[in-house]
């Protein structure tokens, strides 16, 4: 086998320029795959990390039917206190749950005594919220209390809204809300900071203390809109979701229907579609790589056989078996693929390393955010790209190799 590979490598040096060009083409394809997978993977991780760690958390539990109406922030589909206690018990007993934060979500009118506008607000327990969304604090600009998000009597306003109403940290604003019975209530709050906008649901919401939210909505017994749940690891989200769904299923409402519904982060944000699109594009890039390798190797090997017909005839005449002749040409395709893919992998990984050293920043969406990317690629992805190239190279060599092996020595020796 080794002698066949050695001869194949030597044969590849016959037409150095052609081999080099084909090899570069294949290597370029591998580099493209590595860069795209590395950059898109890093981008996805950063954005998903922002969305889950500063807004959504990993999982959310709502009363059944809430998410279907989530744009309206319905107050008539809240989790009642007794049900919330049962939910807390289930969450406490389920392995893999790292933190839990109840939220009261509602719409209110915000006034700075000069202007009035609508606002979406989250009533939160600051300590619990920081546990499920650890990056939320990093989005708060001009924070009154950098150690705690906010205190009772304070509100964090979304950036665009604060800017539009010319409200700053320390200013006093009035929130007016209507509860589910239609009762209107208003309270004054001190602005404790401004929250930077973020793409996706909840990315432009304001925050206040959960006790203030209950008071503003005149809740005698606080009801909860949603419970954000953080898993112990991002990789364990699906497993935790499965376990929680099973644990929550037996909890029924009065009509015998499940009381709760559970969604993972990807079911709650449209960015998941972007992730899916990126994955489809990665598949597309790999298909292009396959086409590039297939066409270029097939072309090189067909030309190689055509140009060496007399030589093949001589080798066959001397007694070289058809199988060995076939093996020689398949080995040439294999070696071309191997050397090219290894070169492409080395260049691609080198480029990723340079990007990590120099830093890559991207702007995304309307949120005016800059994401610093740290592109990396799993070793398995690199290996799979190389294996694809090798497999396709061998595949592309089979037909020319079979043609070479089928040549009749007499006719081949006569070839001009």
């Amino acid at each position: 086998m080794l002698k066949v590979i050695r001869l194949a490598l030597k044969n590849l040096t016959r037409y150095k320029r052609r081999t080099l060009l084909t090899g570069l083409l294949i290597a370029f394809g591998v580099v493209a795959v590595i860069l795209f997978v590395g950059l898109s993977g890093s981008f996805t991780r950063v954005v998903v990390g922002q969305i889950t760690d500063s807004v959504l958390s990993h999982l959310q539990v709502h009363r059944k039917g809430y998410v279907a109406s989530i744009d309206n922030l319905p107050l008539d589909r809240m989790i009642p206190p007794q049900a919330f206690q049962r939910l807390e018990a289930v969450l406490a007993q389920t392995p893999g749950v790292a933190a839990v934060s109840p939220r009261i979500k509602f719409a209110a009118m915000l006034s700075n005594y000069v202007q009035t506008t609508g606002a979406r607000l989250n009533g939160i327990d600051p300590a619990k919220e920081q546990a499920v969304a650890p990056l939320l604090a990093s989005r708060v600009k001009n924070a009154a209390h950098p150690d705690t998000l906010l205190r009772p009597g304070e509100v964090l306003l979304p950036e665009l809204l604060a800017k539009g109403m010319n409200v700053k940290t320390g200013d006093t604003v009035v929130l007016v809300a209507t509860n589910k019975e239609g009762s209107v209530n208003g309270m004054t709050f001190k602005v404790a900071g401004v929250v930077e906008s973020l793409m996706g649901p909840g990315g432009r919401d304001g925050y206040l203390h959960i006790k203030d939210a209950a008071t503003l909505l005149r809740m005698t017994t606080p009801e909860i809109s949603e419970v954000a749940v953080r898993a112990q690891s991002f990789e364990g989200v699906e497993k935790l979701a499965k376990a929680l769904r099973a644990a929550l299923l037996p909890i029924k409402n009065k009509t015998g229907q499940p009381l709760f519904e559970l969604h993972t982060w990807d079911q709650l944000t449209p960015f998941h579609n972007v992730v899916r699109m990126i994955n489809i594009m990665i598949l597309g890039i790999k298909i292009i790589l396959i086409a590039v390798v297939l066409i270029s190797v097939l072309n090189v090997m067909m030309m190689s056989v055509y140009e060496r017909v007399r030589e093949i005839g001589a080798l066959a005449a001397m007694g070289t078996s058809p199988g060995r002749i076939r093996g020689l040409f398949v080995a040439e395709g294999f070696c071309l693929g191997l050397v090219s893919s290894l070169a492409g992998a080395a260049i691609g990984l080198g480029a990723l390393m340079v990007m990590n050293l120099t830093g890559v920043e991207v702007h995304f969406g309307m949120a005016n955010q800059i994401f610093a990317l740290t592109p990396t690629i799993a070793p398995l992805e690199v290996v799979s790209a190389c294996l694809i190239v090798l497999a396709v190279s061998v595949l592309a060599s089979l037909q020319p190799a079979a043609k070479a092996a089928r040549l009749e020595p007499v006719e081949a020796l006569r070839h001009v």
């Binding site: 002698k3 005449a317 001397m318 070289t320 020796l413």
Partner: protein
């Protein structure tokens, strides 16, 4: 018993709807250790006869026996194996592999056809290179050699496996007169040194003179035509 025997051999090629006879009713025998030539003008059937003896083609009629084996019966793979073990070839165009050195070209049959270990290949290659006077050129590539040198390497490659028979189709056609003479003399010397039977084709009268046995072919048939002092084959 003759090393090579053709018994009433005929070969017809089919070109579109027309059948073209290349050989008909040829019978001949070549003894072991002979230095024989198939001679005749272009299109007389020399190459066809060599192809049949070399197990590269099958006769349409008759029987071809080489080293006791009816080669007409061999399949593709068996034919390749037989050639690899029993025959050596010298081509008009040399057909050396350009990416291999002289030594590697000579080593090829032992390495890629017979799968011999390095310990056996090395001495065999050195011996034939020494015999053809190319030891000092062993590390050179074919592109660095003259035509005569290439053909000497080709002869060494044909002999390295110690075959029973070496077939050479117009081995001097691409060489000038003096070089052609030297190559034929070399082949004859190799016959003497290795005891290998040589059968070659030529239409060059100066080369024919070197042959010990002549087979005259004309229009696909063996004809009389002896030269003085030569053993003459008869139809």
């Amino acid at each position: 018993m003759a090393l090579v025997s053709l018994e009433n051999v005929g070969k017809t090629y089919r070109m579109d709807e027309v059948e073209v006879p290349a050989l008909s009713g040829v019978s001949l025998a070549i003894e072991e250790g002979s230095f024989a030539a198939l001679v005749g003008p272009s299109g007389s059937g020399k190459t066809t006869a060599l192809n049949l003896i070399g197990c590269l083609d099958r006769p349409s009629t008759g029987r071809v026996t080489v080293a006791g084996q009816d080669v007409s019966l061999l399949g593709r793979r068996q034919g390749a194996a037989f050639r690899g073990q029993k025959l050596g070839f010298v081509f008009q165009e040399f057909n050396l592999l350009p990416v291999l050195t002289v030594a590697e070209n000579v080593e090829y049959p032992l390495l890629m056809i017979r799968d011999l270990p390095k310990a056996r290949r090395g001495p065999a290659v050195a011996r034939v290179l020494e015999a053809v006077g190319m030891s000092d050129q062993a590390a050179k590539y074919p592109a660095q050699l003259s035509g005569g040198q290439k053909q000497r390497v080709a002869v060494a490659r044909a002999l390295v496996g110690e075959p029973a028979l070496v077939l050479a189709d117009e081995p001097t056609a691409n060489l000038d007169g003096a070089t052609a003479q030297r190559v034929i003399e070399l082949m004859k010397r190799m016959r003497d040194e290795f005891g290998t039977t040589f059968v070659f084709s030529t239409h060059d009268p100066r080369i024919m003179d070197q042959a010990e046995v002549l087979f005259h072919l004309q229009d696909g048939r063996l004809v009389d035509g002896a030269r003085a002092g030569k053993e003459v084959a008869h139809a």
